[in-house]
Symmetry: C2
Subunit: 403 residues, 2 copies
Amino acid sequence: MDLNGNVLIAQGGGPTAVINQSLIGAVLEARRYPQVENIYGAIHGVEGIVNEELLDLTQETLENLERVAATSCAALRSTRVKPDEAYCAKIFQSLKAHNVRFFFYIGGNDSSDTVRIVNDYAAKEHYSFRAVHIPKTIDNDLVLNDHTPGYGSAARFVAQCFIGANLETRALPGVYIGVVMGRHAGFLAASSALARKMPDDGPHLIYLPERVFDLDKFSEDVLSVFNRYGRCVISVSEGISSADGEPVATKLQESVERDAHGNVQLAGGQLGDMLVDHIKKTTGISRVRADTFGYLQRSFIGCVSDTDSREAREVGAKAAHFAIANGQTGSITIRRTGDYETDYVLVDLEEIAAKTRLMPDEYIGPDHNDVTKAFIDYVRPLAGSDLPEAYSLKAPRVPKLLR
Amino acid sequence: MDLNGNVLIAQGGGPTAVINQSLIGAVLEARRYPQVENIYGAIHGVEGIVNEELLDLTQETLENLERVAATSCAALRSTRVKPDEAYCAKIFQSLKAHNVRFFFYIGGNDSSDTVRIVNDYAAKEHYSFRAVHIPKTIDNDLVLNDHTPGYGSAARFVAQCFIGANLETRALPGVYIGVVMGRHAGFLAASSALARKMPDDGPHLIYLPERVFDLDKFSEDVLSVFNRYGRCVISVSEGISSADGEPVATKLQESVERDAHGNVQLAGGQLGDMLVDHIKKTTGISRVRADTFGYLQRSFIGCVSDTDSREAREVGAKAAHFAIANGQTGSITIRRTGDYETDYVLVDLEEIAAKTRLMPDEYIGPDHNDVTKAFIDYVRPLAGSDLPEAYSLKAPRVPKLLR
């Protein structure tokens, strides 16, 4: 390929534990090609492109790049800007001014749409240009992907939370609710199932946004588990919705804002707190607790899936390879080719952009409060090797003497 | 010493990451002495003693004991029962019936008080008996201790949370509030300071229960940091109180319960949510988020300080040694003897029981919104080696061409 010029990389959307692996994967692969002059990193995603806030990554040492790769959250900083056509025109003007011929954007489906619009601009202006979207999202909701970089590490974090929650409720019996990220897709809440080892281990109930959430059914489910095990551990996706399609969290928010005359602005903890209240009132169980895992799920440092880390690196490298060596444009997707092995396939940007993948039916249990064995087989390799495990005492009881 | 008989061990109070290290430390040390016949573990603390729900730990393999040692949360299960004199009489009757001559209770200051009362009973009845309280609490609030087992690992978890939160707000600027456990003592909220590496790293503000919390001052502090760095990361102890001594969380709870006519029962997430609301309203900053770390701080599996783990093991072993080899009764305390080295001193139960240690003044900054260098020197070794670190890109800016 005879396209010569500069590379520009940017990161968009929420953080993940491995988003910098993709950045460094792309940078190091791009360095291999003589047709690449400079490698730029835009600060705060598309905002950095438009404002020409660029770092010259050509000057980073390999040592520092590797350390940054192992650090969570976008090293180039991120953005929530979702560019429209006019904004994309500005992006294109800046890319052109800096002789950027290869553009890589690491992000979710909104980011892939940005890449698509910018690429259309370049084509319209007959500007030789290759753009590749590099997938990233803990929500795991990109279509055509077996899974997305970032999800495996977040799944590992959630699993480690629930292994602990299971031990906590065994030590001090009660009901524990963990509220997990995921507004539309339940993949992350579902990953809590990895915490189970013994038949009575939690999470005993898993509620996903893909199924209708009913408060009465919820109480029945919890009471049934509690009567059986003397405790109940529950994974709830923040996006659970009632039959009318409205998220339970939103319903709550409106009603309490009204009650509180606007004095209490409702945020992260509300859904969990409300579910605790509901269970206490309807079941009479006294020790009921909720944690909302919140931002820790995507930013906590020191809980990375080795599989996720390796794949995030590879999708970055593949993006550079497809664009620079092969002269291609598109979005990288991860396909599962073995148990466990993956490969990376470039697809058209239109096929990914602004679409959302939900949990397939085969991963959701018939009672709508659990996942299937098929899902556990799917998610286990993604959370990586050496997931911490819990062990119990096995000693026999001592005969009673007094009563 | 010629006292022959059985050993009984129990665990009380909230979980920690290393509470089972103390259990296994005591079990393995007790196994060394021929005068020990059987080693029993009471299920659910003092409840298990009274109900004779005992495991015969003599029959556990070394392999399984080591695996249990590395598992968080009380393997013998725990209890919230705080025995009165009558309950302690029952405890004593059960211990006597099972010929328990050595009693070890792993817990906080309430547990040390239980050991004290039971020991008084034994003395009154002229029953030869040795009892040792083994310290444990993530709150780090036991007097006469440099620190307590469980605190170091919880501090490590909190530090890893804040390293991530710092990266998150750097990637997507805003205000982040992490609500940390600690009703009276601020040690755990203070440990967030370990997340700092670079001069602009968060947490930028740390609020402790040892100082009066004022909402107006809070807004001023946040705005000042935000104007300087474009973001603000805050560690708040759940026990922060206003000038009248009432916890901010309790105040809020009352007012919102009134507003909501009892429909919304307030739990874990409320303090964080309220502080978010307050900052949004008083500063006009739009992206303000709070996470309440909740039960994860004490039960999350896979985040253990090696220092904490080793010391928790040693206090267990020391308890068995003091009681069985030396025939002593008391509470084990940890003393710092070097930088970094510790030793273990047995003190009278009366000196520990039902007392609470707060953060000393020298660890709290003059503006009441930060900790001192002395505190960071104090806490750093406790969080263990190889605390994850964040790295940043160092590349220079690319000159602007368009504007």
